[in-house]
Amino acid sequence: MPGLEDLYREIILDHYRSPRNRGELPVPPARHAEGHNPLCGDEITIYLSVDDDVVSDVKVAGQGCSISQSSASMMSAAVKGKTVPEVRSLVKKFKGMMSIDTGDDPPSIDVPLGDLEALQGVVKFPVRIKCATLAWNTLLEALDAPIPSDT
């Protein structure tokens, strides 16, 4: 069995202990989506502000294990300031790293994973892949959420 040090890398624990971009954004103008991991009961809410096709702000609320929380924290740091097509490409690349079938086409834009590569070890613990991808699937839902109107 792979050692736990493959899973609990220092940078992951750092994001778990001091999560980035915690909080909420007012909806509207922000959009949001809620995700659940039915396996463990973890819940996450992702808030997104998108201006001119750029993710100008992102916030993460909810509770979860070290893997889901650190993945959400790293995700939030990675997507802030990126364009929506870049974010979609990053989601695809991340899910590919989690050995999830994302279709034959490579991501349309090559966005570096950076710190997110630390989560690679999760693949050796298949039960935890759902923890790592929860924030990312919720992010996709938030991107696809109807753009709220003030009326």
Partner: protein, 410 residues
């Protein structure tokens, strides 16, 4: 008679399996139990020598299979002290048994203005079927709350039961281990004119079950949690209720006659057993209750009381305030189901670290999300005990928890 628990443990072949050179420490029996060789051999033997359709064919082999199937029904009936084997309906599991009661009895008896009382301890299997039916038939659901130590708060029970037509409750919580006073709850239900439906899925594997002493109306349980195979469970119900209920699933075996303009139903239990049943699993279920009877459920309960006390004391002495075991502290009113919080480490991470030491516990919401909300958590880590566990398993759990502290920096 004193039981040699080492011999009991040796009956379970899987507990001799090693992963990465070390034995498995199985502390997830509340989820599903391991199987003794007596059950495995009974199923194997049946498949090799006696497998045939039941209730359908005239040749001797089929007759023999039918006899063995019905003899398993008699064993299950005896195990819960049912007055008659015909009152045991085989289902897929406890979930299906509870759905059967809700859909068939509830479908025929509940409507606007009626109420069903449940408790905050319930498993989704005893919540969602009632919610599904309430959405269709428009009756009210009421909830018995909990005390701070996870027992039912019965202060308002009489008021909650006023005008209620059914009271459906667990006989043992799968999260907190709480064992409510079933006989008292049944009699309160009856005083209010309500039927009493007992989810005994966690209780029956670990205690003497006596449906007549409870005076209950329906009792549901699952084979896989009591040393038997998955794929089969049982509903015990009072004959006069079962008899009056409409069928649940339609098909073969459940009919007396079918014509182009309708059908008539077979007598209970066949009325509720449409289609080919899980034949081999029923044989295994019968072998499981016979195995448990050979040890004695009072002895099993005593063994688990002692082990639960040992677990609460050992973990408490070792980790003090860093560990909180949820549910009642009094082992007389709880079973060996230990949900715990450990140093703010998420249950999923705890279970991951414990798995490194082959310690199998469940982390999650345990299919009891309303209870999780009452407890104010998303998830708990849960160690659950059974007759094959011993002190070494508890010690292994206590040792392995240290590893969690190392990683998460305490």
């Amino acid at each position: 008679m004193t039981i040699d628990w080492d011999t009991v443990r040796a009956d379970f072949p899987i507990l001799r399996r090693e992963i990465d050179g070390a034995p498995i420490v199985y502390l997830d029996s509340g989820n599903t139990s391991q199987k003794p060789r007596q059950v495995i051999e009974a199923m194997d033997d049946f498949l090799r020598t006696s497998y045939a359709p039941i209730n359908r064919s005239a040749y001797r082999l089929a007759g023999e299979a039918t006899d063995r199937f019905e003899s398993a029904r008699a064993s299950v009936a005896r195990f819960v002290n049912a007055p008659s084997a015909d009152e045991i309906v085989f289902t897929k599991n406890a979930t299906e048994a509870l759905n059967l009661v809700a859909a068939s009895w509830g479908g025929a008896n509940l409507g606007p203005g009626d109420a069903v009382v449940l408790t905050h301890l319930e498993h989704h299997a005893n919540i969602v079927p009632w919610q599904m039916l309430a959405a269709k038939q428009g009756f009210e659901l009421r909830w018995v709350p909990l005390t701070t130590d996870g027992q039912l708060d019965l202060t308002d029970l009489d008021r909650l039961l006023t005008g209620a037509k059914a009271f459906a409750f667990t006989a043992m919580s799968n999260v907190l281990g709480t064992i409510p006073p079933v006989t008292h709850l049944v009699s309160a239900a009856h005083d209010a004119g309500a039927v009493a439906i007992v989810d005994a899925c966690q209780f029956t594997p670990h205690n003497v079950t006596d449906v007549q002493a409870w005076d209950a109306d329906f009792v549901a349980f699952s084979s896989h949690k009591m040393c038997g195979p998955s794929g089969v469970g049982a509903l015990w119900g009072r004959m006069e209720l079962l008899d009056a209920m409409p069928p649940y699933i339609g098909g073969g075996n459940m009919i007396a006659d079918v014509r182009l303009d309708g059908f008539t139903t077979a007598p209970v239990p066949a009325k509720f057993e449409a289609g080919t049943p899980p034949i081999v699993e029923v044989i295994g279920f019968g072998a499981a209750v016979e195995y448990l009877e050979s040890i004695g459920m009072a002895a099993v309960r005593q063994h688990e009381i002692e082990l639960t006390r040992y677990a609460i004391d050992t973990l408490g002495e070792r980790y003090g305030d860093d560990i909180t075991i949820q549910g009642p502290d009094n082992v007389e009113v709880r079973g060996g189901v230990l949900s715990f919080k450990f140093r703010d480490i998420h249950p999923h991470d705890i279970s991951q670290v414990l798995d490194q030491h082959n310690v199998c516990v469940r982390a999650g919401h345990h299919c009891a999300k309303p209870l999780m909300r009452v407890l104010g958590v998303n998830a708990t880590a849960r160690a659950s005990l059974y007759l094959y566990n011993d002190r070494s398993d508890i010690d292994a759990l206590a040792d392995a928890l240290d590893g969690a502290s190392d990683i998460f920096g305490f």
